[in-house]
Symmetry: C2
């Protein structure tokens, strides 16, 4: 990096301010988090060429390859970690997700197909089933002898699972459940393993017995003869064919024409039907029961959050390396061109994304630890589970949108080279595109968060009828029970510090950033909450209308809340850093993240008197100063992510560009030195001009 | 639509405000613009299945198919329009581009491959060559007997064409040019037709004769034996392989190892070398000459602008149709779910994109007419050409970014269905991704616009040394001569109206929007111009540093200027509408576009005292009101684009969703009416509760 440091004006300036250096080893270790060893192990696995995506396979070939890779994962004991020891696992939930996330660097299709088999299909049997089910089905699920689909989503119902149309009706004559798809919109849709590999499925359906519908439950259903691979009677399927990405996965649709299964195939941990058709459940209300069952599946959201962070790191490591070698245009010298990373605009494009990636990484580690606390049983109250749900619902939208933005900005920042499939951006972007709408559509998830915020607000102020608010936040479907603890007590913070009306704060000061970000969440929730109060007393259709008129604001409030959580996680992360120089640079990066959020929402701060016009005008300059300060550390900041060539696999991130640029500059220097190089016509014209003057 | 109108609360409200209806026929005709008949003809061609992209072909198959489609275009006389009548053309430049743009609806690979062959390779021979060249090469270029590459970009130089490394040195011994690639970074890169089909190329190289380098010129070079398809001696190529999209095009790299071509293969319209090696040019300065030569290729940017508008229309027509049928969650009724388009958030996601698409469409029509005026010779002064260049450089970035945003938002708004390749979004997005960086990287183009704005500013105020400003705007490369006319005289407008300091304006008033948008451009340019004044007196490296510190602001100013041009084009477009109802609705849509821009930059208006805090707080509400007003017209607004099923080709836009939803609702109604439907457990619990109370 010496040459860069010497040649860059921005770098010189930053150097004159500070000579701090990053300890990439220490920082890298912190980023690896609690399950550092597991991550290292999984990264080693993901570095193996046999697990890498090959671009340009057709979807049949890609599916075949992915399935073979799945077998290899089994062989390498890469899939058992979360399952009980009696099945060869370790009951380690956090570590399992950490390992799983890293697979995204090999091939997102492999990651998601593994997620379908062991994270959804297998997990449903584990968490919704009971011991008999475990003993019967888990061994062959873990060994991949029984590939299975997770049949929840329907054509007509994506994120609104409570409204699915498939029914499972107990038949007293045979003591069986009859699974039925009553109309086209109730076909199961987008189910991985449904088009080609699956021989069984966990099917979500409305459980009906003795004339009563007890809501959505999960059933284990064989769908194909494992020997002949023929579909079983009553099962009809369709292949989803080619998708925008993830084409290593065989998604498909399934319909059930009165398919009969033993009563005991009901995964009955949270609700059972006895041999007389009598329904009973340890959870008395249908809403709570639904929430509990779906809550066991939160790991999907947790792992998408982590995989998005991993892919963002890969993208930035590639783009920052290239930008530190690639030269274009000569402004400060007549002969040598600038490296891209010295351009302010280029820094503006990449560094805020880098700051957000760090924030998302710290936030994810917190989420993962919370997930592990709950699933290990160490902290497993209803309250803990609800906090986990809300945290996942807030962070997953931010990180999945962030990775798409990052991949796209990096692709554009690398120009035509960024568009070549070999440089990873376009391929990862295609695959990760669907992360923003599956495992809970981001927009719907943010409404779940908003619902929780409104509930907290209602409890805090005791002046809003919560029932009405909850009803409309995401429809009647997700009937959460709410409590006010767990999340950062925004309102409380404001009450404690009394800082709500302070118009002048130090922007590069931790407490200043916290005050601005926190007050915004509090004020936005209070504003929407106030507007919705009137809805409480109105008939349903009129209340819905008022609610709808505030839907956009509500989602914005939820997003502000999740951004605050990321900022807090980043700030907490700084405390772990021992090395003073590293902590200093990382604090600049945190400031860039904080100021980036404030700039993004600057109009809100100005309109609401939280920042004066004068102060507002300094935000952009402060950001520009931070960019210049961070410039000399950019390579260290991406190298700390710890991915190797085997993970990056991008020709533009190998140093090849520097070799080409050096060769070109050497050529030019040799030409100039030779004295035989052609003269530039422009130079001649200048000489003619000056000769005329004499 | 009747059922939708009756069931939607937002619609009811909008209806009570106004019962205007859109005349889609009239509006459609206006959108088709000056070359309506040509567009209709081209759309008919694009509707033919043989020209449609087939998803899932491998890139070899896709290339084959695209090449066959090219032959069909020749057969259908779809490629001659812009060429002289003696070659079977009509010399019709605007119409040619209009027809070309519509091909994007069939397959973007076909559009761009046709663009390479006839818009770049053929056009270079036409515009940079002279009659002898035309007679010799154009017939076989037009017939596709000579597929050719356009070899301008190099690995080491994308947008900075002036700095390319390839040389063409006149050899007095043989009276030939020797084309040479001196180092790896000077390999020609990303050239369509270079990997598989091309037998010739127009090669851009530094022309050297008699020891003087006269800058970049174009040369016609045979690269393969047309019979054997063997590469000619000295030619080395590499296949770029798989790209993020456009895989029907065979992009590749070419290197020249002292390849000899006749002197007369120099395309010599703007610069010639005679048999004594003497260089002469009708354009005295190298900078102007370079600009003039590259200026003939502006049609690439013009047509990408138009193709992006076309693809945005396709995306919105699909997404709005689906959202008007798809139901999800029930808020206002216990039984029926809402259609997506009735949700405020969904309107917020799609309608601003719709408004921007209309603005971009009107702006494109103006650009296309200006292009036709220049290339037809009707208005072909240097000033006209420079205005055209600047206009294209401003609009192409906005529309190419806009189409990516639109495709992505539409894909997400359609959930999992949006991710299926059959529904078009992901496929179009992959193909159009590269539009933002090719034919001039968007960020570089905006700097060209900024340079022009600074020059106008300097001329206006006579207090900035323009030479210095120009030097750093995009490096020394694009050495434009500047004049101050042509673009909207922003500064003049402010001077005329004296409205710069008015803090209160009517946001939904045309002149209010114009004042706000215009003042912002003027103030931003003045601010950067002022900051750069000091740079004029400093040494090159220090001046460069100051310039770099304002690069971001400068690009923002250029973007603001281009947004203003779009707004003006939309506003002008309103004048063409005869039908009062249509004009009223379209005025709302224009207001939504204008207010959307103001909201996007709201912090600027607040910080700079252009809007008060109180006024600022009304912007969001005004937008929400417009969304509700526009809701009943959404389907009409997309239907006016005039694309048919043969262009949309998306299963979710065929009405299938409505059939599914109706079937599901009928099923539920029949169940309720039957009296034998299962009772909901929730209902039972409520009964138990109320019984206990008694």
């Amino acid at each position: 990096m010496t040459e860069l440091l010497n040649s860059s004006p921005r770098t010189d300036r930053a150097n004159s301010i500070d000579s701090s250096r990053i300890d990439t080893a220490e920082l890298g270790e912190i980023l690896l988090g609690k399950w550092a060893d597991v991550r290292r192990e999984s990264r080693e696995l993901a570095a193996q060429p046999r697990l890498h995506k090959i671009e340009g396979l057709d979807y049949h070939e890609h599916r075949e390859r992915t399935f073979e890779q799945m077998k290899y994962l089994v062989e390498m004991k890469g899939v058992h970690r979360a399952f009980p020891t009696k099945f060869g696992g370790a009951g380690e939930h956090g570590g399992n997700v950490a390992a799983f996330e890293e697979l995204v660097t090999a091939d997102p299709s492999l990651q998601i197909k593994a997620g379908v088999q062991w994270g959804l299909f297998g997990s449903a049997v584990l968490h919704l089933g009971t011991e008999e089910h475990h003993d019967k089905w888990l061994p062959s699920i873990l060994s991949l002898d029984t590939p299975g689909a997770f049949a929840m989503t329907e054509i007509g119902h994506g994120s609104d699972v409570a409204s699915i149309g498939t029914t499972a009706t107990w038949d007293p004559a045979t003591d069986e459940f009859v699974i039925n798809t009553p109309f086209r919109a109730a076909w199961k849709e987008y189910n991985g393993n449904a088009a080609k590999d699956g021989v069984a499925a966990v099917v979500f359906a409305q459980l009906v017995t003795r004339g009563v519908s007890h809501g959505v439950h999960a059933f284990y259903v064989d769908i194909r003869d494992p020997a002949t691979k023929e579909w079983l009677p009553g099962i009809t399927t369709e292949d989803d064919g080619i998708k925008g990405g993830l084409n290593g996965i065989d998604n498909g649709r399934i319909a059930f024409d009165n398919v009969r299964i033993p009563r005991t195939n009901l995964l009955n941990r949270y609700g059972n039907v006895d041999k007389d058709g009598q329904y009973c459940s340890p959870i008395p209300t249908p809403g709570r029961r639904f929430f509990t069952m779906l809550g066991t599946l939160v790991q999907g959201r947790v792992s998408l959050d982590g995989a998005s962070v991993a892919a963002s790191k890969i993208a930035l490591q590639i783009a920052v390396r290239y930008a530190s070698e690639r030269r274009q245009f000569n402004a400060s010298s007549d002969t040598d061109e600038e490296v891209l990373l010295d351009y302010q605009r280029h820094q503006r494009r990449l560094f805020p994304l880098l700051a957000t990636t760090y924030a998302a990484s710290f936030a994810h580690e917190g989420l993962l630890q919370k997930f592990d606390d709950v699933f290990s049983g160490r902290a497993d109250t209803d309250e803990d589970r609800q906090d986990l749900e809300t945290l996942a619902a807030g962070l997953k939208p931010l990180s999945t949108w962030h990775v798409l933005e990052t991949l796209q900005e990096c692709r554009e920042a690398c120009g035509g080279a960024g568009f070549m499939a070999e440089n990873r951006f376009t391929s990862l972007r295609s695959d990760l595109d669907v992360y923003v709408t599956f495992e809970g559509d981001n927009t719907v998830l943010l409404q779940l968060v908003a619902k929780r915020l409104l509930a907290d607000y209602a409890k805090e102020f005791r002046n809003v009828d919560f029932g009405v608010l909850a009803r409309f936040a995401v429809g009647q479907a997700a009937d959460l029970t709410i409590n006010k603890t767990g999340l950062r007590q925004v309102a409380q913070f404001v009450a404690d510090t009394g800082s709500a009306q302070k118009a002048v704060v130090a922007l590069r000061d931790e407490s200043g950033q916290r005050a601005l970000l926190t007050e915004r969440v509090q004020a936005m929730v209070a504003e929407v909450g106030g507007a919705l109060k009137v809805a409480a007393k109105l008939p349903q259709d009129k209340a819905a209308k008022i609610f709808n008129a505030h839907q956009h604001e509500l989602i914005e409030a939820a997003q502000a809340h999740a951004e605050l959580l990321q900022w807090e996680a980043f700030t907490d992360g700084l405390q772990q850093i021992q090395d003073a120089g590293t902590r200093k640079v990382m604090t600049w990066l945190r400031d860039l993240f904080g100021l980036g959020l404030i700039e993004k929402h600057l109009s809100w701060y100005l309109m609401n008197g939280r920042l004066s016009m004068q102060r507002g005008r300094t935000v952009g300059d402060s950001i520009n100063d931070l960019l210049a300060q961070l410039r000399p550390h950019a390579l260290d900041l991406v190298d700390a992510f710890g991915y190797t060539e085997a993970h990056l696999r991008a020709p533009i991130a190998t140093g090849a560009e520097k070799i080409r640029q050096d060769e070109a500059m050497d050529y030019a220097r040799t030409q100039r030195a030779s004295g035989t190089a052609p003269v530039d016509e422009k130079t001649l014209l200048l000489k003619v001009k000056s000769a005329r003057k004499k």
